[in-house]
Symmetry: C2
Subunit: 299 residues, 2 copies
């Protein structure tokens, strides 16, 4: 099975109490891909600049990511610089350099247009819509966004929400977009905007899923090893969407399992800088951790 | 079986987006008792003032709470006034009037001294220690505290921690007392202070349990009905400790079950002001909600 992800490929500089790493391979589409590749052929739709290191291209190739729609623009690669303090739950953005991202117009091959599973990771809602309109007949479309677009392109985002199946938001975004503080009320409101499945990510506190069929709450994997949470949300989405490409039916059982896969994938992501962990995962790693997770959360 | 709880009996005034209620029956020992009474005979050790309404005494009697060690001091009853905003997760204390609490010295009857299950709810650690020293041979002792004592009577609190089995703290208290931001690291540190079981309450995000045998993480009951969270932590403790009075063995299975009972008890508490919900609970209500909870958190 194939999955297509639209998002960013970035060079991340991250400062944490555990040290600093400069210009690591990152971005929403890359973090998503690292988890989704364990379940499906990942087609990455993104833009990089002239300064993008060849070693990162090689790395993505090696991981089996399909790069036919990774275009190289004139200019510099999107760069993000952030800092984590204290409990490492919230990133403080120190600097953002859009570079080629500001002129990004995704295009996909005729073959890719037939892919059924699509994830629109966080970029401008206009770019997300543009890509979605190019797809033939998607089976399952997930969408992520961020506060910047909620505040600056609310209308466009709301229009897009009517056309996707799954909206993935963090708790803060869910509250801002819905105007509700209680997360179930927020989820119900977002559900009424269109998507039949709402996933609210709560960082270390896990995930809340809402649909008209059921509500599901799962804590994060309890771990004391948190080095760099950058990309944990996208890794979660990659595990979640990736798993769903493999199931016959999207129902309560498969959705819960997908959330569990996403959760443990994200738990690996935070254990080291950048892709140091998720870049080397195999499916068996997730399965082993799910067994441990069961002990720690089931009763 | 019997359980003894030392704590406060208060007159609470609470302001929330849903309204204001003045001088409701509250306090740590009372909220604890409302849940614990579903499992055991609750002996309440606390102080009230001359202004304490007879209707509240009658109410506690009616609920089967044993009041032989509820003493009436010269002065006014302890009063707390607080406000909740936004997601109702954090209380803003507007006013505290200690009244008789400042001169409280608990005393228990000879019969009560033989009670095996004890909960030292949040009062001055010197008072907690005083009571504990009066008990004959406790089987299980739980302790709660608050930031004020962590900051002002740290030494006394640390000395006390060596003598209890279970320490119940909220996430903020756990972080302050341990100096660790990651909650598992914090729990490990608190464990090293003495108690063999650490329970960290995370409000709407549920509970983290830590021991040398196992770690357990449980989300809160997902609900959109949050009216007044005052006393939710004590209600949790009451359900947790209450359930454990009834089990033969305190092991992984019974501890997990106790945490589930505490969690659903707390979920009722937040659904209305004061004791409006927990004052009318029967065990069957908890069991019905546990069935619903299973659907929402198990996979």
């Amino acid at each position: 099975m194939s999955i297509l992800v639209l998002g960013t490929v970035a060079l991340d500089t991250v400062k944490t109490p555990f040290g600093i790493r400069r210009h690591m391979l990152g971005g929403s589409a890359v973090h998503f891909a690292m988890a989704a590749r364990l379940f499906a052929n990942v087609n990455l739709v993104a833009i990089i600049g002239r300064d993008f290191p060849k070693k990162y291209i090689d790395f993505l190739h090696q991981k089996g990511i399909i790069l036919t729609s990774l275009i190289r623009g004139k200019g510099r690669t999107f760069k993000w610089e952030g800092q984590y303090q204290g409990d490492l739950n919230a990133a403080l953005t120190l600097n953002t350099e859009l570079g080629v991202l500001s002129a990004f117009r995704p295009s996909v091959s005729e073959k890719q247009r037939r892919i059924k599973h699509i994830f629109l990771a966080n970029v401008d809602p206009d770019i997300q819509r543009h890509l979605l309109e190019n797809m033939h007949s998607p089976r399952l479309v997930g969408l992520d966004s961020m506060n910047y677009w909620i505040n600056h392109k609310r209308k466009e985002l709301l229009r897009l929400l009517k056309r996707v199946n799954i909206y993935v938001a963090n708790d803060q975004e869910a509250r801002v977009l819905s105007g509700e503080t209680n997360l179930i009320k927020a989820a119900r409101c977002l559900y009424n905007y269109g998507p039949r499945m709402i996933l609210i990510k709560k960082g270390e506190h896990g995930v809340l899923f809402f649909s008209d069929k059921f509500i599901f709450s799962l804590p994060g994997y309890p771990t004391e090893k948190v080095i760099d949470p950058t990309g944990a949300g996208d890794t979660f989405a990659g595990g979640f969407m990736g798993y769903l490409t493999k199931v016959k039916r999207i129902n309560e059982i498969s959705i819960k399992k997908a959330i569990v896969y996403g959760t443990v994938a994200a738990s690996f992501n935070v254990e080291d800088f950048g892709l140091n962990k998720t870049g080397h995962l195999v499916l068996k790693d997730l399965e082993n951790r799910i067994a441990e997770f069961r002990k720690r959360v089931l009763f």
